[in-house]
Symmetry: C2
Subunit: 335 residues, 2 copies
Amino acid sequence: MSEKLTIKEIAIKANTSKTTVSFYLNGKTDKMSNDTKKRIAKVIEETNYRPSMAARSLNSKGTRLLGVIIGDITNTFANQIVKGIDDLAREKRYQLIVGNSNYIYENEEKYVNRMLNMGVDGFIVQPSSHFHDLVERIKEEDKELVFIDSQVSMNKEKWVKTNNYEAVLEASESLIKLGYENFIMLSADPSVLSTRLERTTGFLDALKLANKTCTTKIVDENVASDEITTFITDELKLGSKTLIFVANCWLLPRVYVALKNYRNLIPETIGLLGFDNLEWTNFSSPTVSTIVQPAYEEGEQAAAILIDAIENLNEQVPNQILKCSVNWSESTQIK
Amino acid sequence: MSEKLTIKEIAIKANTSKTTVSFYLNGKTDKMSNDTKKRIAKVIEETNYRPSMAARSLNSKGTRLLGVIIGDITNTFANQIVKGIDDLAREKRYQLIVGNSNYIYENEEKYVNRMLNMGVDGFIVQPSSHFHDLVERIKEEDKELVFIDSQVSMNKEKWVKTNNYEAVLEASESLIKLGYENFIMLSADPSVLSTRLERTTGFLDALKLANKTCTTKIVDENVASDEITTFITDELKLGSKTLIFVANCWLLPRVYVALKNYRNLIPETIGLLGFDNLEWTNFSSPTVSTIVQPAYEEGEQAAAILIDAIENLNEQVPNQILKCSVNWSESTQIK
DNA sequence: ACTAAATAGTAAACCTGTTTGCTAATAACG
DNA sequence: CGTTATTAGCAAACAGGTTTACTATTTAGT
């Protein structure tokens, strides 16, 4: 079927030239008679003509594509971020290309290259700590970059994040006051993601201020549930009030399962504090207290900053720190 | 900085012609001396040259972009589908562009147009019932299309789905045998999505076979929780065993909350059967029985079929019906 | 040794829009 | 009325690759 129509055919049908049609399509209609405009509009309408993006972006006018690289899109937090980005991007007529890095440098590199290939106008990245080298590559090609959630260098880049450190510090302090004596922290490798480091440091600093110590376990996503269960069981010094802080949302369910036989001790003897707005923590018994990040807003902000940079406006304030809130629930006593 | 290099410069540096470099880039190296190959490889390596996708796809060679249009990316089911598609696509060097339709025709249309603009090589779509008109538009442009989850016309299109009807029918029948007398069904509008219709029909057919009747409530995503709570409360004829079937994953938490004051009656007096693999149903108390679709596999299959069609291979069998399983849990008695 | 076939490589046309530089035609001005 | 300024519009060059059609050089075959 589709003899795919080109701007040339439109021009012929509208009895004008390619140039004029092109101007029309790009809104440069100031030097154009109403009659011509109408003729072109009519033909475009009738033929349902849509210009080829490929040909357009050949002239390096930009592709209206944004590259989004995020650690794990299957978790709710990342999901909401992307939704926030997408909603704003769509409003501004940009389209997302999303990549899942699993926080692995090789994947980040692969996506950066691919997205540069495709001619994205800019990047929003939740970077692993190794992303550093890729920043240069992106800058070499004059593409804009906004970090989200985590960051690599505070210096020159644009970013949006949440106050992980302060939020954990404050929440921990208020829990310490409730009389917990024994502390356990579980986290994924803090050297991989700056937010992880902020969270673990926040917790440890709170303990330090209160002269408490803590047992820490660093795990990765492949950790066996058994291993966590064994660890938790070993570390629970029953009799002394224990607070368990789980720094990553995907880790929380595993810890929760490990606590299966101790649920009746929650929250009096065992306190549990997690991260992020997970649907199930509202339905579990007991429900779980979590520190909640404004993920959707984070995404919106990042998109606004990026698009602003791409279009050379200077309206958005870069580098925003958004505040977390705490969803106090049954797994911790309330002050 | 970046004097962006073109194939011409590479050719000059490698002391050869554009043509030869182009052939090299596309793997047409059969008629090429090893020496030439090495020279080109070296220059590309040194300069970190990457050809412009825009220029490439101008020659209508395809963009290696796949358009994915899905109802609601924030639910786990859709998420797993997209992950399945993405994993396979990445393996085959395709890139996804994902759009959220919210099951609304206008959004579907917008995304189809935009993705056609961008020159995607094909579509994977979870279509609303109104998608019909867009099928033609896609076919007019000779793009491939694979429906996933839902479908519009059984006739000519390719699709991958799960056996919603049979799964619901069987699960319901086995529950009816346990002695439930009173039946409640909640669903989103079945006329919008074919899977919804299959599920509701499956449930009603099971009841019909057993000579039972059912109270049905059709809601949309904006329904107030209060409304559901009131409905549930009104319909629960305590004393007679009641089975509640919730046909949509996003609806289940709202119903669950509505049952707050009746949880001790579960599962003896009240049975609850939901849909999809939701993390929280494993942590709630009681845990919830759900019919689980093999979402990730569905995505993989769809991607395999689509890519197969794009590349004109005929290796994949189109039109697969994957089997659901049931995650029997505490919200229903077990046979 | 001489033709036919295979090999290695290239110049030029092409894909579809955008942008530049120029030309008529009309309007404004003195 | 003649000259300049403005308006409306177009031909041609261009963007960065791919593909076609053709040439020159070897190799193979008899």
